[in-house]
Amino acid sequence: MDFSSINPVLLAASLMVAATPILLAAIGEMVVEKAGVLNLGVEGMMIVGAISGFAVAVETGSPWLGFLGAMVGATALAMVFAVLTQFLLSNQVATGLALTLFGLGLSALMGQGYVGIKPPSVPKVPAGPLADIPTIGPVIFGHDAIVYLSLLAVLGVWAFLKYTRAGLILRAVGESHDAAHGLGYKVVAVRVAAIAFGGAMAGLGGAYLSLVRVPQWTEGMTAGAGWIALAIVVFGAWRPGRVMLGAYLFGGVTVLQLTLQAGGVAIPAEALSMSPYLVTILVLVIMSADRGRAAFGAPAALGRAFHASA
């Protein structure tokens, strides 16, 4: 094929759109894990968010209400996880898997009447003359509001964890729930709040897939995005900036392989389609091979159940 037909500016612009759903879900999950909870149900929450958002947007005609509905729907599912793991002390890995399995079924059920419908479109943020700046203009400006919201979320989470008292408490709960409990912090309340935030962000990411990225509803449309978000949290070593880097790296691979497929390059389409998953695995391996760094970032109490009497 003719590689000169690939426009790097367009590629970079669509990279941001491709990375946004993963970035939203990953930054939410990062906060959950910082609080010491491993929620493997990101995929389930994303797909429930995708259909909740889609349904609300179609019924009301407003994509913004759709995004709100997605956050509500996915948070409701996340609360099931919260009740099970925080109050009934169930195994977090198994409960997260249950969330994904249930979410996939529930979303297919909810989405029955919505196959083949076009959702209301999400307007782009007008950037005025800024959009006309060569190269930078089309890449950075002229996206929809959710793209910028995801960047704000990264900044917000970074500042929250680093500079606020609440962020410090959340990290303390994630590092040692017994010590945090001893200091009088409400471990369970902090974790439930973190799980709710993670659910809302995953829902938002899911709705971004069904309302902007695709935009359509099909069963199982998240296609592993939630799992990739989980991997990106590990890749990002639980740091917001690096999580963003990971999401954009993934977005880049996705966009590149789609462009190559469309361009009819002599690599089989299936080999290109599997490349984002392979790259994610590769990146995971590189990160985890460096044991010191990976261990430094992971919250010490990650995945452990907390029971006050224990």
Binding site: A94, F102, G105, G224, I281, L284
Partner: protein, 365 residues
Amino acid sequence: MIRLEKRPEPSRRVAAITPVLAVLATMVAGGAMFALLGKDPFASIRTIFWDPIFGEFAFYYRGQLLVKAGPLILIAIGLSMGFRAGIWNIGAEGQYIMGAIAGAAVGLAFFPADLWIIFPLMVIAGALGGFLWAMIPALLRTKFNTNEILVSLLLVYVAEQILATMALGALRNPDGGGFPGSRNLAQYPAAANTEIIAGTGAHWGVAAAVLAVVFAHILITRHILGFHVRLSGESPKAARFAGVNPNRIIFFCLGISGALAGLAGLFEVAGPAGQISIDFNVGYGFTAIIVAFLGRLNPIGILLAGLLMALTYIGGEAAQATLGLPAAAIQAFQGMLLFFLLAMDVFTNYRIRFGRSAAAEQRAA
């Protein structure tokens, strides 16, 4: 005030009852869900759980029961080993696909020869395909400490792409007029996974599942390796002191679950499914996770749980045909079952107590 008090050790009695309670709770909640969908909840539950075994068309459905239960049990037995040891292979779906591809490829390579050795070779290739696919997360985990949950799961998507490549390319039926999909192995006698007893649905995969249950039971209760697997999960520290090599346990658990999932895939592709096609896999690898938990990771329990889960599949299809219940409702129903099961697990490890704790009473006195 209601609070939880940790039991000195998990209650075996409660652990045995909770799956039954979870199934009952799921029937109630599922009935409510079906009612929300505008279906008669009682008719739905009866169609799913009663009619396939005792109803008018039971003669047809009973055979289907074993066909569906076979792969579920086979995969769940393998997964339960890992889950016991705290090694989470959740990519059985991918190992199932790779086993089917490897086994089918061997069978198709011999076409149209008629040798007795072909089917046994396919069985070996199927197990090997799943085994090797599971060795990827095992190697990455032991060499680089990479999380096996994420790797095994991500490899499912890779396996699905390989399946598509095979169905459209290397394994496509040359006489198929360009349609995707391989030759039908079920119609190739030397490679077909036939019913051992006609009309029961009991093909070789079901026999393998029963064998797996027996071997797993012996391994877990009688063999030192089974003890090490349990020890690694229940007390990693004690396992280390006892000289258990954690890497060996990882290789064993992922290897056995991969091989069994691969076998399940081979038996499916050579029997009920018949051919390698793009939509060959239907989620047995994921449902088997629920089966493993519902069976309390116990081989006999998994046998029963596999049959029950197969029933929800068949009953779900029946309810789809007679009541117009959406297929997705059954998937949600199965997920719900796992929720209830995990929720009720709390009673295995904790007691519900009303009022203040004994320690608090003492302090107050």
